[in-house]
Symmetry: C2
Subunit: 192 residues, 2 copies
DNA sequence: TCCTTATACGGAGGCTGCCTCCGTTTAGCA
DNA sequence: TGCTAAACGGAGGCAGCCTCCGTATAAGGA
């Protein structure tokens, strides 16, 4: 074996366990929030606690990895939806996915907001920009198809969506309410 | 001794220890946030952990007691400031005290926002209303003195203050910035 | 195919905090 | 001064945090 390979690929078991841990953490942190038990995450992933700590030295590392994973999923989804023939429907689907994420991963979002470090701020900035770009592409597509008002911006959509989510979150049944209001908003953006 | 006294006053040691615990919790929770150690609170108060749990059966009971204590302090301050000859200065002092509270008790506020129960929502509603009333009285006083625009509302002030606090909080030095912006805002409300 | 070893795994163990339970102490009434 | 309801304190059992180190294994080279 090559004894000195500074940038070697991670071993296959390491890669697999990392994925397992992130999947488990999605569920456990999403429900339990900032105080959720990391031993519980390791148990659900079927790995030892030592493995968890090797991959994610601190609680924040794990939170960040999960968050990044989720947001990159949304970015991927936006890219896929650019194939869609109906640009407005594409936007609607994408926003539904985003609201669903806020709904199921509430604990995670609270956890992220509790521990704000320089590091997490940088990540947040980077991901926000990429997300906004992905949505802007969807908007442009719909505008080009002639089904959306040409003065629409990605920020209009994102700000409205997050404002609705956060203003409504505590009540039960808020998700349906927000989706209804979003539909109205999107209809308002249609070329008549 | 009267064995059957359903609504007896708490014993003096109980009252004293309750105060000691709230004082200690102010510091410990203000710094440590939601995850702060309750044993640490008891140690700082100089009482046993059992005593803490008798007075505050859950972490939330303690959080709520501290929060109520702080907000009632602000309400008392507003009442005292009604004696002040200069209504605008009184408002300014009061808002400075409020910003200082946000600055030193950040951990507490985060803790309160993480665990939202029916109970805490009711308390929050009640205290918000009383706080708004106290500020409204200060505003009316200043208006009556002819030093403040007569269309000013307590909500204008409170919303502006909290929006500034929460939008700015993470940066270092935010407190001075917020105080400066608040001063400008209050000057804007002066009758010229 | 097998050997070698860098890489990764798992969980025991020490520590801290949570919360309960109960024996001890004390405030305050008569 | 005596009595007792009320309050105190901390031991103890349990759970989670994180580290450390002996064991297992993936994968490059012979």
């Amino acid at each position: 074996m090559t004894p000195r390979n500074p940038a070697r690929e991670p071993r296959s078991d390491a890669r697999r366990n990392r994925e397992l841990l992130i999947d488990a953490a999605k569920v456990v942190l999403g429900q339990g929030g900032p105080g959720a038990s990391l031993e519980n995450v390791a148990r659900r992933a079927g790995v030892g606690i030592g493995t968890l700590y090797r991959h994610f030295p601190t609680r924040e590392h794990l939170f960040q990895a999960v968050y990044r994973h989720e947001v990159e999923g949304l970015i991927r989804l936006a890219t896929q939806l650019r194939e869609s023939p109906d640009g407005v429907e594409a936007l609607r689907s994408w926003m539904r996915a985003n609201v669903a994420l806020v709904a199921t991963k509430r604990g995670l979002l609270v956890a992220m907001s509790v521990t704000v470090t320089e590091d997490s701020k940088a990540m947040y900035t980077e991901l926000s920009a990429r997300l906004a770009d992905a949505v802007a592409a969807l908007v442009q597509q719909a505008v080009a198809q002639g089904v959306l008002r040409s003065d629409t911006t990605a920020e209009d959509l994102l700000h409205t969506m997050y404002a609705l989510c956060y203003a409504r979150q505590p009540e039960p049944g808020w998700e349906a309410q927000v989706l209804r209001l979003l539909d109205i908003f999107i209809n308002g953006l249609r070329t008549q």
